[in-house]
Amino acid sequence: MSESLLDRLLGRFARAAARIRAWHRWPYFVGVAMIVGHRVNMRRENLTDTEVSPPRPPPPDGFDVRGMRTADGSYNDLAKPWMGMTGARFGRNMPLAETFGERPPRLYEPSPRLVSNRLLARRQFVPVPHLNLLAAAWIQFMVHDWLSHGSNDKEAKPWDVPLPEGDRWIDGRMTVLPTDPDPRHPGDEGRPDAYTNVETSWWDGSQVYGSTRERQVLVRTDPATGKLREDGKLGLRENGALPLEHRTLRGKPSPRLELAGVNGNWWIALSVLHRLFAHEHNAIVDRLRIDFPDASGEWLFQKARLVNAALMAKIHTVEWTPALMNSHEGRTVMRGNFWGIMGETFTHAYGRIGSGEILSGIPGSPQAHHSAPYAMTEEFAAVYRLHSLIPDEISFRRHTDDSEVVRLDLTKVAGGEVCDVYDAVPFDDVVYSLGTSNPGALVLHNFPNALRQLDRLDSQGVHFDLAAIDILRDRERGVPRYCAFRRRIDAHVPSSFEELTDDPDWQRELREVYNGRIEDVDLLVGTLAEAKSAKYGTPPGFGFSDTAFRIFILMASRRLKSDRFFTDDFRPEIYTPAGFAWVQENSLRTVLERHCGALRPHFGDARNVFFPWTRAGA
């Protein structure tokens, strides 16, 4: 798709204006124009294809690929049916020359464990006062839809992360299995390793429905009978809870673990969202059956999936993202992705104006992949390392009077222990507790300590520090470090620790850990440090860094713009009229009203349901 003259002008304007000051330090209209211009530039320069031998999707075998999403994500793009499917490679937001993975000794400079200990470890919980804990869970819910690197390479020699002096890590040695790279093909000579996404890259609800036909059948199975539900609904237990699988998607035993399309890294808040959207799926099926009483269960399931996935995408675009980017510019741009600058009311009343994305939003505009086939990217995965959002403990309280039922550590609300929580706390009270608690802020020294020593005491007794692994993975997969990363996204590159962050203590700590070399600062660390940089860092009102935001504005649009079901085929003929209206008329607020109606008094006054809810008695 060629750039229009307006695009080119905006791109050049953004680049020129950014030399003077960052977009968020300009007046509103200039800032919005700059954000759009940055996106134009990044669509041209920050989308890199890594495929040389794409996977070959099986023939559709009579499946209506035009009107329904395949389980493995194939046939979304009908010209390149492999695009975005399970097993396709991650793309890149950087030039390939910048993405060769680091290897020892560079991989350990400085030690990821040292970074974890000195810069990431939570000293005291730092909350985000304007968000609730559902916001933290939501992004994990979405990430499970978009991407996973799958299992690590068990055959390879593990990385041996050096331990800093005095570190009392278990057994005195920290080993981490390398990421399993995609086998190299003839066209890969001279190119960096690439990795495959074991989930579909599309925004297709695969965290709920799975990325294979087998998984899809499993979540559609009635736990009471063990048989596929013939009515097109998802399987649920009699009490409305998700079925139990007792093992993870990758096959690891985990007693009482719930079943979902993706059930890794399971914890209570993630379980809540899965349960809500399983119920939402079933509600959509009920609605569609009114208009199509003779339709098969398979047809109802697939259409409801289409609608549910679009609703999740809409919630993310017009509710979650504006909550995280809580400024005029952030709200305008992210809501504009869905509704355009004409806004929701106008679009509801009069429909789209033309086919462009600026006036009436991306849904319904022509599909375009810009400069590379659609894929999730390694850099996107890297900037979505948001573990600091998670608290180390959660207080569960009754929604009737806000009294505490129980306060539990993170490890006690994870994996199969989620069911223990439900045994002690009613579902509505769990949701209320999440809606009235704050997530952690994305700043240095706020990584949950529970995740810094995870004990997976299986037969081999594996322990790991997720903070150190976050650092290691970015280096291993060739995600450029902070300064190199910023250099490639038209963002100011700090030349000193004083420019990176305004906090003198952080400056000193960073200088010590990185031996005074600003260019060595890791991407994750830089994004957390810039939270305290008024000049170049996190924009006012934002829950995450400007660095991450640049990738978001590119990829958030792309997830919609590349997907045929959000562009060319986002229409009633494909979604059904009732399904299309369901997407247009619903939101997370209505989902909560439908499935947790008793909680309405608590979130009714919230401008955004990801903002803290009103506490009982407040």
Partner: protein, 292 residues
């Protein structure tokens, strides 16, 4: 993405910077090198300027010779065979490696020019004069500045520069192209290598093949013009359309050597194997010399 710039009678350009589009256009039978018989004004000016600069004694340099120019393909194949058999002498390898690790005392331009020149003339010595001549010819082939061209035409500097280099290589068009035009992309590659080494404190750490892949520079743009109207999946062109293939931008997107050298096409560079091998050898040597 293929960009088009069309103003009737004045200009008709296609700019391709996507690897797929470049590969398709480079293989397109209706695109060729040379000077179009009929084309918009700016197209003709550009084509004439390039043809005028990149020639020696009326013979086009290989990089601008049309597909069916007599002897072009055979000469290219012969040169390719000769290059593949040649090894860089140790002194030049050491000097280039020293430059990469920041220790060399010789300017990189003449050093690379001499390294290349000796593939053609064993006793060739690059001087500041030969290097400046190469820079001038390269600038003359690229510039759109009419005043500069006028000055050069008036002073005859471009002709002098071409004569100087032609004398050293007995008027061999392939040699002239190598030491006057191609040399600049190789210099850019070594400058990148030096930068890459500097990022890790002057110590080369990447494996040689990886370093060569990262640092290889391709010509920023090569020209073709349409001999007949046509269209493919990427672009539509008319007779006389000037097509600019942005090899460097495309190579950066894929790191594929075959894009940089158009290896799979009729116009492949005869040095497509020699250049990466040289880069790897220099990096390897640099790594050895940087060892404490």
């Amino acid at each position: 993405m293929v960009r088009t710039i069309r103003v009737p009678l004045l200009v008709d350009l296609l700019v391709a910077e996507e690897p797929d589009a470049i590969q398709a256009l480079a293989a397109e039978a209706r695109l060729d090198r040379g000077v179009p018989a009929r084309a918009p004004l700016v197209n003709r000016m550009i084509a004439h300027r390039v043809a005028d600069v990149l020639q020696v004694e009326g013979r086009p340099l290989p990089s601008v010779a049309p597909r069916d120019a007599p002897g072009r393909a055979a000469a290219r194949d012969a040169l390719e065979t000769r290059l593949d058999a040649r090894r860089i002498d140790q002194a030049h390898l050491d000097a280039l490696a020293a430059y990469v690790v920041g220790r060399g005392d010789r300017p990189v331009g003449p050093l690379v020019q001499e390294t290349i020149g000796r593939l053609f003339v064993a006793e060739f010595r690059a001087t500041d004069e030969t290097w400046q001549a190469a820079r001038l010819l390269d600038q003359a082939a690229r510039t759109l500045n009419p005043i500069r061209r006028l000055v050069w035409a008036f002073t005859g500097r471009v002709n002098d520069a071409r004569r100087l280099l032609a004398r050293r290589f007995a008027g061999d068009p392939a040699a002239l192209h190598a030491v006057a035009i191609a040399v600049h992309t190789l210099v850019a590659s070594f400058q990148r290598m030096r930068g890459l080494a500097a990022r890790s404190g002057g110590v080369p750490r990447h494996p040689p093949a990886e370093a060569a892949s990262i640092c290889l520079a391709a010509p920023p743009r090569v020209l073709r013009y349409a001999t007949a109207p046509g269209a493919d999946a990427h672009a539509t062109f008319r007779a006389g359309t000037l097509v600019l293939l942005g090899l460097e931008a495309a190579r950066a997107r894929t790191l594929a050597h075959d894009v940089a050298f158009l290896t799979a096409t009729w116009s492949r560079c005869p040095a497509h194997a020699w250049v990466p091998a040289l880069l790897e050898a220099v990096w390897q040597r640099a790594a050895e010399t940087a060892q404490p």
